[in-house]
């Protein structure tokens, strides 16, 4: 009898089982552990126990949450506790022997930009990080998920995690994306469809011709927001695009090892006939530029839409939460999205700060001027350098954007990059939660091209009108 058809997730999971207990729990091996300036608690827990990192060779770190977007000098960080966290990742890396891409090193950046960029993230591997957007790395065909600081310490000590096997879900996006439609619009459309708890307990495999047609940067954007759909992880099967992306990256396999690795990666895609616990499909051609209107990522609409009426909600609880969201967002039901004024624009975050994002943004910005404050924060020093080599910085600066230093910046505002209460921000980040970009700040999630369209017009604008 032929072996049963398996999903990619199943193949990677099975390969990483250290112990399968009778009670359904699995000790799962972790191939890559990414750390950042928020990982100090994990190191502290390890120190308390007087345990050393089991596999420092599998650990990679870069400061991202607390670093300034205005300066590269640690001494410039005004908050002493924040400054200490950035200093601690340096001392912890030196003591433990993990690889550090430190502030001042052009390889520093947001962990979820740096991992793929350095070739640390590879198909078929398990990868964890004390950050929910670790799902990003699944774009290369890895099983990657976020964990809390206790589990960070557990991985440091044992290189393993106790897991119950999640379910598998396939989200297929078939067909051709329209002009001006990006990976961000795809994932927002998916979350709008399945809801922010739509994939709880599941690992999502994104499939279909529209996903296969995305670059790695686009796939990283899609997988990044798996967590906003409630998913444990998101993945895309490795293919020629993946292999071409990885070739020559610093931590990718070399020479004969490269061929061996590629042969392994080719075995990973889900077998024909493999079954998923859930299957969802979307028509790529029906996806328009998306904008969120509320305080949950599922509150996403096409730019051609209007602010929804709570009276149309299916039940009283939903009606109540819509009212609350609209009140916080300061929006009147029935208003055309294109008529909503925007106060500020942020282009950056682990969702949308890669070179392709900056190219898409620069294409819209070229020859135009911003009418509201607008920032571009590249995802890493190498992205910034590449953008400058292509002259994108000149385009942004000429259009009136600020061109800032890499880090998480205004996505989460932990470094002090926040908006003012009541400000409405068009943001390329991943969470429009209440207060996410500062108390009282109103966040609308959009693609980089849509963010520029808002920046140059002062209100949400269908970027397709500007691309002509």
């Amino acid at each position: 009898m032929a072996a049963a058809a398996r999903t990619m997730f199943e193949k990677i999971w099975q390969r990483h089982v250290v112990v399968d207990r009778d009670d359904g729990y699995t000790l799962l091996y972790v191939d890559r552990h990414l750390m950042h300036d928020g990982s100090a608690a994990g190191f502290a827990k390890l120190r308390e126990r007087k345990i050393k990192l089991r596999r420092p060779d599998r650990g990679f770190a870069t400061p991202d949450h607390y670093v300034l977007s205005s300066s590269r000098a640690v001494a410039d960080i005004p908050d002493p506790q924040h400054r200490s966290l950035v200093e601690q990742i340096r001392t912890n890396a030196a003591e433990s022997g993990i690889t550090l891409f430190d502030l001042g090193d052009e390889r520093q950046g947001i962990a979820h930009v740096v991992g793929p960029e350095q070739g640390v993230t590879q198909p078929g591997l398990t990868l964890v990080c004390g950050d929910s957007h670790t799902s990003t790395h699944g774009a290369l065909g890895a099983l990657a998920f976020g964990i809390g600081s206790s589990e960070v310490a557990h991985v440091m000590a044992t290189q393993c995690l106790w897991q119950r096997k999640p379910k598998a879900m396939r989200v297929s996006v078939e067909g051709k994306l329209g002009a001006g439609i990006t990976a961000k619009d795809v994932i927002l459309a998916i979350i709008a469809k399945i809801g922010t708890a739509g994939a709880v307990g599941h690992v999502i495999e994104y499939a279909g011709s529209a996903i296969r047609g995305l670059s790695i940067e686009g796939r990283l954007t899609v997988c990044n927001m798996s967590i906003e759909a409630g998913g444990k992880a998101g993945m895309v099967a490795p293919d020629d695009t993946t292999i071409a992306y990885l070739k020559g990256r610093p931590f990718a396999p070399k020479a004969a090892e490269w061929d061996k690795a590629v042969a392994f990666w080719r075995t990973l895609p889900s077998d024909e006939g493999a079954t998923f616990d859930r299957d969802v499909s979307l028509d790529a051609a029906a996806i328009a530029p998306m904008v969120t209107w509320g305080t949950s990522p599922e509150d996403a609409l096409s730019i051609t839409g209007r602010i929804p009426e709570p009276s149309t909600a299916p039940d009283a609880a939903k009606k109540d939460s819509m009212k609350r969201a609209l009140d916080y967002m300061g929006l009147v039901p029935g208003t055309l999205l294109e008529e909503v004024p925007v106060d500020r624009v942020f282009i950056g975050s682990c969702t949308n700060s890669r070179i392709e994002d900056l190219r898409a943004a620069a294409k819209v910005a070229a020859g135009r001027k911003v009418v509201i404050p607008a920032w571009v924060v590249a995802g890493s020093g190498l992205v910034k350098k590449q953008a400058e080599a292509e002259g994108l910085d000149k385009i942004f600066l000429a259009a009136g954007f600020e061109w800032r230093e890499p880090g998480c910046s205004m996505c989460v505002g932990m470094n002090g990059d926040t908006g003012k209460p009541g400000q409405r921000i068009a943001s390329t980040s991943n969470r429009n939660f209440i207060g996410r970009q500062g108390p009282g700040v109103r966040t609308h999630l959009v693609s980089p091209a849509m963010a520029v369209a808002a920046a140059v017009t002062g209100h949400f604008t269908d970027v397709r009108k500007l691309l002509g």
Binding site: V18, Y29, D31, A153, F433
Partner: protein, 200 residues
């Protein structure tokens, strides 16, 4: 770790679905030492921007004082992986969370902090919240060994929990120590992987 066996305590109802961990503890409090985070629980829900307590928020109501259980809506504590969302709850006395569903990472983080997340049927959770609103301060009783929740109406519901997690909570098992006991298996795995994925 402190064991979790039974808990009988007042419970607070949280009615918003998808209440994210940014609402449980806003990001700006995360860079501080744990003891100074205690007052950050539900900070922006509890206080107005000028730090006046909002009397209508449940933890500000005197009738709910001393509560140790949260009864929440679907997808409770979704979003960011910050374990502070669990520790700030624990440091404010909360040890158990009842909801129709949870954010996966928060759910896992609970077990690392001797806290118990319980999934119950959405209709029953909604019913318990109504009871708690009607009679603030009423008690909910949890028995982990029996896997039961007794609501303020005296009705008992059974909940499911992985026997691994249950056992660890009941005995207060330290997960790192448990895993270190599997050293031989881990070493064998690593030896095998060195052969198979030699480029790593």
């Amino acid at each position: 770790m402190e064991p979790f066996t039974t808990l009988e305590a007042a419970a607070i109802p949280i009615d918003q679905p998808n209440l994210d961990t940014d609402q449980i503890i806003p990001a700006r409090f995360l860079g501080r030492p744990r003891p100074t985070q205690v007052d950050a629980l539900f900070h922006d829900l509890r206080y107005t921007p000028d730090r006046t307590p909002r009397p209508e928020f449940v933890t500000n109501m005197p009738a709910f004082k001393g509560a140790r259980i949260v009864v929440a809506e679907r997808n409770f504590a979704c979003g960011s992986s910050r374990e502070n969302a669990v520790t700030v709850m624990v440091d404010n006395g909360f040890r158990a969370f009842i909801a129709p569903s949870f954010g996966d990472i928060f759910f896992n983080n609970c077990f690392q902090n001797a806290a118990l997340p319980i999934r119950l049927d959405a209709a029953r959770v909604a019913e318990i919240r109504v009871l708690l609103h009607a009679k603030p301060g009423s008690m909910v009783k949890i028995d982990l060994a029996a896997q039961t929740v007794v609501g303020p109406d005296g009705k008992t519901d059974r909940f499911e929990i992985d026997s691994f997690r249950k056992d660890c909570l009941l005995k207060g098992v330290d997960e790192v120590n448990l895993t270190l006991g599997y050293e031989k298996d881990i070493a064998a795995f690593e030896a095998r992987q060195r052969q198979e994925l030699s480029w790593l």
